[in-house]
């Protein structure tokens, strides 16, 4: 089922929680709404579920306009952040709830529940009450309850945020596995960019109620279109640059930042000044001075085993985060050491704003 949003807006008092958001979500897509708290992602999801009527705009499920369809008729399966399991019902009764409403026959009900319970690995827990389950198990019940009704669309509101870090990774893989197996259109809300990258086909980054960037995870990672997108999706250094010259044929520009000249491969920026996004993992430590090399001093060194994180103060005064993966013991630079940083012209991104 395709989901199309056209110019959705929703305000609470003066706060514009969602502001003119238009999106298209393909059939079978795992689509993530990503953004910091208060960006409007949950509001947008609740508009899709029908819990909030939008102030403006249209929601389509396939070709059908669903603005006036009440939430209980939208046939979506929703997994809530706190799972929202019915405390007075057992695991099995929780899962059966939606099927009972749909007046599914006994034999079919047993078959579907059984299959679902196997699929989410809850065998043997059918008679337990939610309060007798661990967080991960509750999460599975919530997922099973939403999926067993074979909804057209699966909606998930930060489903993993109440689990511990290890379980979170395991569960997100499981969610992705089940989603692929069923081929169900899924709209997933999270504030965790790593989680979003791990599970999504497409990601929409929201900021202050507006759609910031839409694309595949790798597109957004490699080509963030704004400072917000660059900083939110993975860490990033943002450097202000002064454009010196532009070479049309090679589509390279020469620019200057903090007294150092740089070459960047990019389309021509709009103005004289522009912002450059440099991922910490793209910065190399150089031995020799030369082209596209910035001199600086190590301010802090954090050794994390598989990588070393440096905070470097560039000659021009700018602070730059650097990550060196697979470090060798003898190459680790201590605080106060002079370093040279090399930027790869191919991997720098000019930001839109």
């Amino acid at each position: 089922m395709r989901v199309v949003l056209k110019g959705i807006s929703k305000a609470f008092g003066k706060l514009r929680a969602v502001d003119e958001v238009s999106l298209e979500i393909g059939d079978g897509d795992f689509f993530t709404l990503l953004g910091p708290s208060g960006c409007g992602k949950t509001t947008l999801l609740r508009v899709i579920a029908g819990f909030y009527p939008p102030d403006g705009g249209e929601v389509f499920f396939g070709e059908r306009l669903v603005n006036d369809v009440p939430p209980h008729r939208r046939d979506t399966g929703m997994v809530f952040q706190n799972y929202a399991l019915f405390p007075h019902l057992t695991v099995r009764e929780n899962i059966a709830y939606g099927l009972r409403v749909r007046k599914v026959g006994r034999a079919e009900m047993d078959a579907r529940i059984g299959e679902m319970i196997r699929s989410v690995r809850l065998e043997g827990l059918e008679k337990r009450f939610p309060s007798q389950l661990s967080g991960g198990q509750q999460q599975r019940v919530a997922l099973a309850r939403a999926l067993v009704i074979s909804p057209q669309i699966l909606l998930m509101d930060e489903p993993l945020s109440n689990l511990d870090a290890k379980l979170r990774v395991a569960m997100r893989e499981e969610i992705r596995r089940i989603q692929k197996q069923l081929g169900i259109t899924t709209i997933y809300v999270t504030h965790d960019q790593e989680e979003a990258m791990a599970v999504s086909d497409h990601i929409a980054i929201l900021n202050l109620g507006r759609l910031e960037q839409l694309g595949r995870p790798d597109e957004i990672y490699f080509h963030p279109c704004s400072r917000f997108a660059a900083e939110f999706m993975g860490g990033s250094n943002i450097l202000e640059i002064q454009v010196l010259s532009y070479d049309e044929t090679a589509s390279r520009l020469r620019a200057e930042t903090g007294g150092t000249a740089l070459t960047v491969r990019a389309p021509r920026p709009a103005g004289e000044r522009a912002y450059l996004s440099v991922r910490p993992e793209w910065v190399r430590l150089a031995e020799e001075p030369g082209e596209d090399v910035i001199d600086g001093t190590v301010e802090s060194t954090t050794f994390l085993g598989a990588l070393v994180r440096y905070r470097v103060r560039a000659l021009g005064g700018q602070g730059i985060a650097v990550e060196v993966h697979n470090p060798r013991a003898e190459d680790i630079r201590r605080e106060g050491a002079a370093v040279r940083l090399r930027f790869d012209p191919e991997r720098l991104a000019i930001l839109g704003d």
Binding site: G77, A84, G98, R145
Partner: protein
């Protein structure tokens, strides 16, 4: 979802209509009456002038304040050490003492007054015993008796609030003070006491409020010592036709006091709480044997003094009597036989009225709680304030207001059972709303949404998912409503009419005419009817009545 919104809007309108008709409009009626001259019916301040001019009325106000202040101080003096001893020290029979100490909260105060009359009134058990020994006991009548009954019945509020506060102080706070060099006394004075002070004030405020609003105790035991609530009643029910203006003015004065106390409670005390969540309680200490004995004697003695009178009432009910003369030691079931065969009507009335108003209260309470918790907005705040209003109105005042409003005009309810049911419902429904809405707040909204999302329409989702989850709380709220309704005297006495006398009225009247035996029989039925549901509440729902009051 326009259709759904409308259904709840309808509930909103209905709830407002009920509150306006049962509370706001009647209060307006007596408020207006207080500004009308009793003789001419023109606008005048005559009644208020009379209150502040004639020493008699001034004394009523002074008396009310006096007994309330003295009872409050005594309740604090008893309740605070009571709470400290039981929370911090080992003591034999501790849990029994704690449980018994909460009983006076639910036992009707006027039965407490009745009990003390049986004990120490003219012709009372002790009175006669001591007289034989040649000792003249101080009179129980007047302010001393009122203060005695108030203190013994209301000190548990101070005890409970202070206990809760003591138990919510994390031990690390006292340990931190010790670590910083403070001695035990210093810790107690600089950490423990300041942390507990808001609870002491909150408890004191409740005691003061209940004392000044009480009607049954002063009218039974006060004799010539008149207080506001009694005088307002007298003015209204006067044999010479009554004086609605004066009754209204006295009610208004009482209303100003009770409202003021409620506002003080809400905006001052409720904000000053240091309750911490997830605390590690301080250790319970075993004191030296002598100290333990002294503390035990204090706590057990207080509980005994508070409950013994009720036992006397129960014993009196199976004692042979002839008018005010009790033949203690001579067993007889005559009082009960008479109560059940000759005049069973008050018993039936009480149960009927309590049940009807409770059932209506459950439904109304549930719907209103839902509006208050789930549909927050300006309207729901207003509704919240309005439904809680009866908590700030003395029962007598509420009774007078309803009687004055519905004895003429387009709706005439005076003289029917419905006005009693209405008064009970409106006075007790705040308890039901409090329990259900605090429960509802704990149920995340998404549980309902999950049900809606799975295809069940909103109102049915509420019934299928929310109501079952809340059931234990609803039952608890209903029991509290039922039990307190059964024991209601102050508004009943104003509103009842011949055949609709309740057990409380019966007890009150029989005491007045000196028929102690039958009065005790009805009182015993009442006590038992109150205690059985509470036992059930504690045993099967694992709830304290204290969490609900």
């Amino acid at each position: 979802m326009p259709r759904i919104v409308n259904a709840w809007n309808g509930v909103f309108v209905l709830a407002f209509a009920i509150i306006v008709l049962a509370v706001v409009y009647p209060m307006f009626i007596i408020f207006r009456a207080s500004f009308l001259s009793p003789e001419t019916g023109a606008w005048s301040l005559e009644s208020y002038r009379a209150i502040f001019h004639y020493p008699f009325y001034r004394r009523c106000l002074k008396n009310s304040l006096f007994v309330s202040v003295v009872s409050t101080v005594l309740s604090v003096v008893i309740g605070v050490p009571f709470a400290f001893f039981l929370s911090r020290y080992e003591m034999p029979g501790k849990n029994v003492i704690k449980t018994l100490a909460t009983l006076p909260l639910i036992l009707p105060t006027f039965i407490g007054a009745e009990a003390w009359l049986l004990l120490a009134g003219r012709n009372g058990l002790f009175f006669n015993l001591f007289q034989k020994a040649g000792i003249e006991l101080p009179s129980i009548y007047g302010w001393k008796g009122i203060v005695l009954v108030f203190t013994l019945q209301f000190f548990p509020y101070v005890f409970l609030m202070v206990s809760a506060a003591i138990n919510s102080i994390d031990r690390s706070l006292e340990e931190a003070a010790t670590n910083l060099g403070a001695g035990r006394l210093k810790v107690f004075l600089t950490v423990t006491i300041p942390m507990v002070t808001p609870a002491v004030l909150a408890g004191a405020l409740i005691v003061f409020y209940l004392s000044i609003e009480n009607f049954g105790v002063p009218i039974l035991i006060g004799e010539d010592f008149r207080v506001l609530s009694v005088q307002a009643y007298n003015e209204f029910i006067s044999e010479m036709g009554g004086n609605p203006s004066m009754a209204g003015a006295l009610s208004t004065v009482l209303l100003v006091v009770t409202m003021g106390l409620t506002i003080l409670q809400k905006y001052w005390v409720e904000r000053k709480s240091y309750a911490m969540s997830a605390v590690q309680r301080p250790e319970v200490v075993r004191a030296k044997p002598v100290a333990t004995l002294l503390m035990w004697l204090f706590c057990a003695g207080i509980v005994f003094a508070a409950l013994f009178p009720f036992a006397v009432v129960m014993v009196s009910s199976v004692t042979k009597t002839s008018g005010p003369v009790m033949y203690y030691g001579e067993f007889s079931l005559e009082n009960f036989v008479k109560a059940f065969t000759i005049t069973p009507r008050p018993i039936v009335n009480s149960f009927f009225l309590a049940t009807v108003s409770t059932l209506v209260g459950i439904v109304f309470g549930l719907l209103v709680s839902y509006l208050l918790v789930r549909r927050r907005g300006k309207m729901s705040y207003l509704l919240d304030a309005l439904v809680m209003l009866p908590l700030a109105i003395a029962g007598t005042v509420q009774g007078i207001a309803l009687a004055a409003t519905y004895n003429t005009g387009f709706i005439v309810l005076t003289g029917t059972w419905m006005i009693l049911a209405l008064a009970y419902f409106i006075r007790k429904v705040p308890f039901s709303i409090k329990t259900t809405s605090s429960l509802l707040e704990q149920i995340d909204r998404s549980v309902e949404e999950a049900s809606i999302n799975l295809g069940v329409p909103p109102f049915r989702s509420f019934l299928k998912v929310v109501v079952p989850t809340m059931l234990p709380g609803i039952v608890a709220g209903a029991i509290i409503m039922w039990v307190t309704t059964l024991a209601e005297l102050s508004s009943t006495i104003v509103l009842y009419y011949g055949p609709w006398a309740t057990m409380t009225v019966e007890i009150f009247q029989r005491m007045g005419s000196g028929e102690f035996g039958p009065a005790s029989a009805y009182a015993t039925i009442l006590i038992v009817s109150v205690l059985i549901p509470l036992f059930f509440l504690q045993r099967y729902l694992g709830r304290d009545l204290t969490t609900t009051l």
